[in-house]
């Protein structure tokens, strides 16, 4: 197998600052060369620590980090051929755009004309030519981000590490810069590792999404897999868009389970990979909010469908869909995303009694 230069392998990474509690607790992961990988998780889940360990700003307490097949623990960032884009960019406030970008070349001892030329080429690549003499304080958030990107990329790293790169921007710019990051990643053809706590950002941009909780990986895979087929309650709730419901198995019928709770009766859920459950077990299952449809109580029924009678608690118009919040099932929220064209054919109002229904094969048993 040929050595992939920007591939990353984390093997049993542990990080502990005080010797007892582990910020990162045994992480194993392979990231392919030239891929865009997002670490997703709430603050304090260890995702930034992993990034900093890959970058060489912190050493793991235990475990190995391989970049391009080489063990890099103990090496300086430059020797690893990684570059980091810091949260809020950390542009040097006293240097203009050109000197910021040329900084890495300056400390390598490149002559002034040479590094100016190299920096100007890079500035052109990120389309900042007119702003080359400005100071960071005179740039907008989006422009600052492009400078940061250019500054990190000028040394030709194999891996670019981005720490919450979009969190300093406002909503509109975030979407725009998201595309720009994606474009730069394709242009440069190197591995990008991006840390974020925003699930929309992660699934929009990444080839691989890694969901983390308390120093451990909960699920890693292509964005669509993680969103559509969450492994457990945590992943499903963190990525959103899912109703995560809890109930007791009444009986097993072939490859499906009939699940009941106080507010719902005999909801049919395929067992999937969870073959070991039996009647009486308490289980979680998920159904996507946009797979839930709402009908008036009197209208027809179908086979192989779950039907939960409920009541409309709140309605939020979201533009292309309407978020209908129904009565909770136990402590779990039950929400339906109804396409706005369908909703307004026969709109519900708060307090209406409805039946929330979904097809059996749209549900998924959670671990």
């Amino acid at each position: 197998m040929p050595v992939e230069h920007g591939s990353i392998e984390l093997a049993g990474i542990v990080k502990s600052y005080d010797g007892s509690s582990r910020v990162v607790d045994g992480v194993n992961l392979k990231i392919a060369d030239g891929s865009y990988c997002c670490f997703l998780g709430p603050s304090g889940c260890g995702k930034t620590t992993i990034l900093r360990m890959i970058a060489g700003h912190e050493d793991p307490t235990d475990g190995e980090i391989l970049i391009g097949g080489e063990q890099v623990v103990g090496l300086a960032p430059v020797e690893r051929r990684t570059a980091m884009m810091f949260q809020s960019y950390a542009l040097f406030p006293h240097l203009n755009v050109r000197d910021n970008i040329a900084f890495a070349l300056r400390v390598r001892g490149m002559s002034t004309p040479d590094r100016r030329k190299a920096a100007d080429a890079m500035i052109e690549k990120v389309r900042l030519t007119e702003l080359a003499d400005r100071l960071p304080a005179q740039l907008s958030g989006g422009q600052q981000q492009r400078v940061a990107l250019a500054r990190a990329a000028i040394t030709g790293p194999k891996v670019l590490l981005l720490d919450e790169p979009l969190s300093a921007l406002d909503e509109q710019l975030r979407v725009q810069m998201r595309q720009e990051l994606s474009r730069m990643q394709r242009d440069l053809g190197i591995t990008f590792i991006h840390v974020t706590h925003t699930q929309l950002e992660a699934i929009a941009i990444a080839d691989t999404v890694v969901v983390m909780e308390k120093g451990r990986i909960k699920q890693a895979g292509p964005a669509r897999d993680v969103y559509d087929q969450p492994r457990d309650r945590y992943v499903a709730e963190f990525l959103g868009g899912q109703n995560v419901l809890s109930g007791r198995i009444v009986r097993i019928e072939g490859d499906s389970a009939m699940i009941s709770a106080e507010e719902m009766r005999d909801v049919i859920v395929p067992l999937g990979s969870r073959r070991t459950v039996s009647a009486g077990d308490r289980v979680d299952f998920a159904v996507r909010r946009d797979d839930v449809d709402l009908t008036r109580p009197e209208t027809g029924t179908g086979r192989q469908r779950a039907k939960v009678p409920s009541r409309v608690r709140a309605i939020e118009y979201q533009g292309n869909f309407v978020k209908v919040i129904l009565d909770n099932i136990g402590r779990d929220e039950l929400i339906a995303y109804v396409p706005d064209r369908i909703f307004y054919r026969d709109p519900f109002s708060i307090g209406d009694i409805v039946v929330a229904g979904w097809d059996k094969d749209k549900t998924r048993m959670l671990a």
Partner: protein
């Protein structure tokens, strides 16, 4: 939905508030303005009046005395200051004071800078170090000076302005410098240092190319503190300067035996020099800030 949209209700409330302002304007200023303005004027007079009197009286001619009225106008007493032996060693004291202040400034800036960097992280005994430093700030200067003098006496060290007085003055300027540095460092983003390292800079390059330039305005402010505090330091220097006087000590001894307006002339000259130093420092800071942030997006 038939309910009134919330925005309309909000606008309504704003309109009501506009109709009933909190403090109705009756045209003139409230009486409290005049009371406070008088108070402020008296404060300014009390603050600067005595100084201004001294500056004015220093420009009398040869008949001049220590009190008003003015007797003629000339620069006689300024000339007298630097030529007459009976007024003391003003020239020598002045040059010693300047040299001492420069030495104090350099040491203060270097040590404050380094402790500013060090105190970004917690370390064993950091609060002890901090409170010891604050302790030397609040200790009465004269007591501290006597203490240093006594210790030197016991240890048989000869006191002089460039050794013991330097140390005594640093006990006063260093805490100030470090406190100013703390304020400066609170706006320092540690990610700058990390970014420099990430881009391949050595520790030395990071210091020279990033940390010092970024902190330059703050370092100038520390220097200003160091210089002015040292230049007019009296209580700590009194018993530690040895046989040769610094300028404040010289002025003090002059008040005991010189009874001519040359004393006032000296006050005028030292004030001018202080203002000059402060002006240079503030000008430098302003220039750095301006160069750094000359634009609409700057702050």
């Amino acid at each position: 939905m038939t309910d009134q949209p919330p925005e309309n209700r909000a606008t309504g409330t704003v309109r009501v508030r506009r109709g009933r302002p909190l403090a109705p304007s009756t045209g003139g200023r409230p009486w409290t303005f005049y009371v406070l303005a008088t108070l402020f004027t008296l404060y300014v007079v009390a603050l600067y009046g005595p100084m201004v009197c001294i500056y004015i009286l220093s420009f009398q001619d040869v008949r001049g005395g220590l009190v008003f009225p003015m007797r003629g106008t000339s620069l006689h007493w300024f000339v007298d200051l630097f030529t007459q032996v009976r007024t003391g060693d003003v020239k020598g004291a002045f040059s010693r004071s300047i040299r001492l202040a420069v030495a104090v400034t350099v040491v203060t800036v270097v040590i404050s800078f380094m402790s500013g960097l060090a105190f970004r992280k917690r370390f064993a005994g950091d609060s002890v170090v901090f409170y010891l430093m604050i302790g030397s700030l609040v200790a009465p200067g004269l007591v501290l000076g006597i203490g240093v003098g006594l210790i030197c006496n016991v240890l048989g060290i000869e006191t002089s302005w460039y050794t013991t007085a330097l140390g005594a003055q640093l006990s006063w300027t260093l805490p100030f410098g470090v406190l100013v540095m703390f304020a400066v460092m609170s706006r320092f983003n540690n990610a700058w240092e990390e970014a420099a390292r990430d881009l391949g800079a050595s520790a030395w390059q990071t210091t020279c190319l990033v940390i010092v330039p970024v902190l330059a305005p703050g370092l100038v402010a520390v220097a200003l503190f160091g210089f002015t505090l040292s230049y007019d330091e009296f209580t700590r220097t009194l018993l530690t300067a040895g046989s040769l006087n610094t300028l404040p000590l010289e002025i003090w001894s002059m008040t005991l035996n010189v009874t001519s307006p040359s004393l006032y002339a000296l006050g005028t000259v030292t004030t001018l020099i202080s203002f000059l130093i402060i002006g240079i420092c503030l000008g430098t800071i302003a220039r750095i800030q301006k160069r750094r942030a000359a634009g609409p997006a700057a702050h």
